[in-house]
Amino acid sequence: MLIYEQSQPGRRAFAQAPKQRPPLDGVPTALQRANPPALPEVSEMQAVRHYTRLSRKNFSIDTEFYPLGSCTMKYNPRACNSLAMLPGLLARHPYAPDTHSQGFLACMYDLQEILKEVTGMKRVSLVPAAGAQGEFTGVAMIRAYHDARGDSARNEIIVPDAAHGTNPATAVMCGYKVREIPTLDDGDVDVEALKAVLGPQTAGIMLTNPSTVGVFERRITEIARLVHEAGGLLYYDGANLNAILGKVRPGDMGFDVIHMNLHKTFSTPHGGGGPGAGPVGVSERLIPFLPVPMVGFDGHDYHWLTEKECPQTIGKLSAFAGNAGVLLRAYVYARLLGGEGMVRVAEYATLNANYLAKRLADAGFDLAYPGRRATHEFIVTLKKQAKELGVTAMDFAKRLLDHGYHAPTTYFPLLVPECFLIEPTETEAMDALDGFVAAMVAIKAEAETSAEIVKTAPHTLPVRRLDDVRAARELDLRWQAAG
């Protein structure tokens, strides 16, 4: 029920309201409302009950195991939130002069340095306001680099078929043609196919390593050499950085540009269209093109670097300097962990994924890449169950909810049929992992004996199986008051 539907004229939460109407002196009459806004009129108790009820409908990491992992968002330690809300940070005005912002600027400068160190890149800009904008920035810099060299005939970006859908979309947004290359049966990029498409038209390649199939690209240095020899640049999609923190660095693999989704690896909030942060890091040759403003340090003071200091910059991307509040949370997270802690993140994320993969395989589930060690995530294919029992990955996913587990990513990557992409992350204890395995085993047993229960799941949630086909065919996004 929407809070609007509980509205009754004249109901108020008096304790929350100001004693009197605030004075409107100085607001031009033309800008003043003639009628009050159409807000719901409810009592304080109704408002409390409404939002508490809504929060209990949330199936989230605060209440259940959430194997979407960093692919969507990691657990956000509460400390990051409270420290980013220190009064000095919270009350600072974005246009406060540098002299009054040294503490905040020091945090941003340190974050640039930390991300540089973790990724092995030569310089970092924190400006992009989300991962997608980070990707756009990265490819825009590749374009600026080729253009600055008078090498503008390069019009193709190579993307493996296992890539995130955003990669080809970004390439197209930046005016490039996309060349897709296949993935081998063992999960690695097909290097022979890569050789066949490389040429004077190659602007670059976009890769995720570890890849979306949950394995480390073993021939990455050879790929980097081939692409560089053809005159192209290498783009690193930072989606899977969690697996390699403190272990191996994209800069050392030969990448020229990387974007990092801070909500994935550095535990910042993330929501549909909410404030995000997608910093970019670059190799030596792309430094001039980084977006502004960045934070500089002259040994004494911190200051903003703008178009004046960076004349070749691709420019500004958002109002001012990106989402400061989100960046601060990532900074706190990185400082709380330290270098040692980051290594432990990668080790536990990988250990948890491999433990879960092994236990599920022992329980009779098919791994998509059984010959490979998992990184921070791995893929189970339910192709056999779909074929023999008529129970699909989607059915398993919905039934997991009844068993008290959030479903993992389903049907991605597209090249593995009936798949679950499972990522427990480093924060889960062994008993949570064991509980997930027990639920999967129980569902498999149900699928074998009483498949109907699985096919019609969920049975215990506020809503049953949603008709996503009808929702897509008959889009209806607007609420209207009844009557």
């Binding site: 049907y411 086909v469 065919r473």
Partner: protein, 132 residues
Amino acid sequence: MSNDVPSELKYTKSHEWVRVEDDGVVTIGITDHAQELLGDLVFVELPEVGAELGAGSECAVVESVKAASDVFSPLSGEVIEVNEALAEAPETINQEAYEGGWIFRLRLSDPAELEGLMDADSYAEHAESDEH
């Protein structure tokens, strides 16, 4: 492999079917096997009438709740008609892939290319081995 593979049609590895009509025009769609893999379709992007297509070029998109997939033109030629009804009813492809679910018609520029397509038996075998 339980899907329907009519013997009078020609096929591609990328799961398109081709029907050779009397007047040298061909009708093209995606196979029953392909629609089953995709699941319930929610959107079809049609080629433009008058477009000149090369064999193997991307010319349409079929989208389900699971995935969006390119459709490739099996042959070279000019698009002379598209199945406008699919815009309103993409599910027709799920219901009758080889009849009402046709996607576009092509006037061939090189009829010899037909020789390169698969017959029903080879396609059935291909779909079986490729099953994913």
